[in-house]
Symmetry: C2
Amino acid sequence: MATAPASSTLLTHKHHVRLGRLPLRSGAILDDVTLGYETYGQLNDAGDNAVLICHYFSGNSHAAGRYDSAEPVPGWWDAIIGPGKPIDTDRYFVISSDALGCVRTDAPHGLTTGPASLDPATGKAYGPDFPALDVRDSVLAQRLLMEQLGVTRLAAVAGPSFGGIQALCWAAVYPTMVERCIVAIGLAEFRAREIGLYHAMERAVRLDPKFLAGRYDPQEPPLDGLALAVELMMVAASGAEDLHSRFGRHPAPTGTGEWAIENWLDTEPRIRARNCDANAWLAMLRTNMRWDLALGQPSMEAALARIQARILLIPGTGDQLLDGTSYHDPMVDALRNAGSTFSVQSLSAEGGHLAGLSRIAEAGDAIRTCLNTPMRT
Amino acid sequence: MATAPASSTLLTHKHHVRLGRLPLRSGAILDDVTLGYETYGQLNDAGDNAVLICHYFSGNSHAAGRYDSAEPVPGWWDAIIGPGKPIDTDRYFVISSDALGCVRTDAPHGLTTGPASLDPATGKAYGPDFPALDVRDSVLAQRLLMEQLGVTRLAAVAGPSFGGIQALCWAAVYPTMVERCIVAIGLAEFRAREIGLYHAMERAVRLDPKFLAGRYDPQEPPLDGLALAVELMMVAASGAEDLHSRFGRHPAPTGTGEWAIENWLDTEPRIRARNCDANAWLAMLRTNMRWDLALGQPSMEAALARIQARILLIPGTGDQLLDGTSYHDPMVDALRNAGSTFSVQSLSAEGGHLAGLSRIAEAGDAIRTCLNTPMRT
């Protein structure tokens, strides 16, 4: 007797949309823009059951499901996206979109436009000549994707870290289109400490003699410098308690390094760096450093007051990358002063910044509640 | 009419003691060891009014006073060391000692033995061949200094960060000699996250093509790599709120960088790196990474139970270098379980790790109280 498969595994595909010419906030114009994305679930006839997912710094649009059943690890927010999950694909049409300048080059189905993709004017990779990207540029590209998909209204925009930044930006730029804004481990502006930390990561890439001011040979990329930048991101993003539980002061079992965590940091960042483009990484750092929701507005309160969406903040209380202790309180104060409708669901401190990925299920109920609560009228 | 000068400015001098042969914990032996130090106040006849001050990672023994009245900034703990101050030089004979392997080379009166000093066997700088240093090696050297100065007992050992580590180590290694142990922004062991962060700093130095596996030309040191390591230390040690107050998102006024904090990070770390030796910096990183008070003891509690001194902990609650949130609670638990006599005076979070230098005056009353409380009997 044939039965439906018992597994709830979501199978998905990577798609690409061609967006043509895209004017950037910098004044530059990109030609023949390509944007990668995935979708889970079905769009309803009204086109208003869509949820947009935006990705973190070194992520891409593979947020949920598997490309095939043999894929060992599903997408990065699979814990909360899928049939019956908090972002329920039986109910919502979930679109997960790349950001422009996505740093990943392990993209067998093609690159989203960024420094590593080919400039149609020259036929060569843009490299260091790629124009500066603003968060708003990705939001515009995603807006065009929504049009092509027939999405008229977003039940929610959600994402972790840089994805949360994009979600906030979406809600501010297209206030009447976004009903809910779910910001995990994100912030409304980069402050001095975060800018300083990202400056150090940039310097790590530039210190590599193979970087050659960005005109490196693609076969000889600045892997050592990029691996150090990735390592800094990993250490700053990891929860101190999680690292202690995993590595303690254990000696390195084999290989390089005196301690187990050194062994990990001697290997894992290089593996990740091999899947990234150094120029894209630097461009992404700069895009983040420039992030300020209040840009062009008289104040952060005024910027937040433009947002009509119900906001759910999901901070990591032990976050030492985007400094959970110092950004969260001012942001909540500004939301309160702006008269925003918002709630807060903190993730446990042990996970640090990465709690926004590894422990996002802790916020599952809060996400369900947010999605089930009608937009304020 | 002649009057005494109204200024309470403490004038001091750098001294050096020659300690001869020193056996290290690693099994190596250093010949002709030199240790730099300063003193403030007078030793009493019983030799028991001494307070030993130990310095932080990139510091040296210039903890208080000025070498001459024109020196713009006094020693780094001048706020609490001096006539009438919490560590009262009218009452105590205060010795501030270098650690072995002190990273600073801006030492006009000569170097404390370390990688940049001359190996008497070869007449050349030790460089990368300098043997591994343990915190206990510096404690032994300082113990020999105490003997030469006629100090029989220490009313207190105190220090910030790596200085607090040395203070804890002193109290554990010479329990009957130390009456009080004042540990500012210090910890009882390096854990995975701290080891990982220091690993990244080490990698920054090694990434510099001028490093040449430590055999760099002293006239062409790996300044870019060392400056990046210093930058990482500065960003991690600074309080997020202090940086925000100072730099905000202000654009760079002049010079390099887009933001004011970038301008600072493009200049200040290089200035500091010029005053340090890269091999000494790497050796100091490794000494810190290996720090574990419980080494050779059955447990941290057992190690702490050996300490007879009254302990004053002065954590920086916003500390993101030595992770105030994750090390402090386990340390307090261990002290409680060990039956230690201790108290805690936290510094305000805005200052981060550096609160142990910039805001140490906040703990002034707690330090006075600690020094005025008799040792437990």
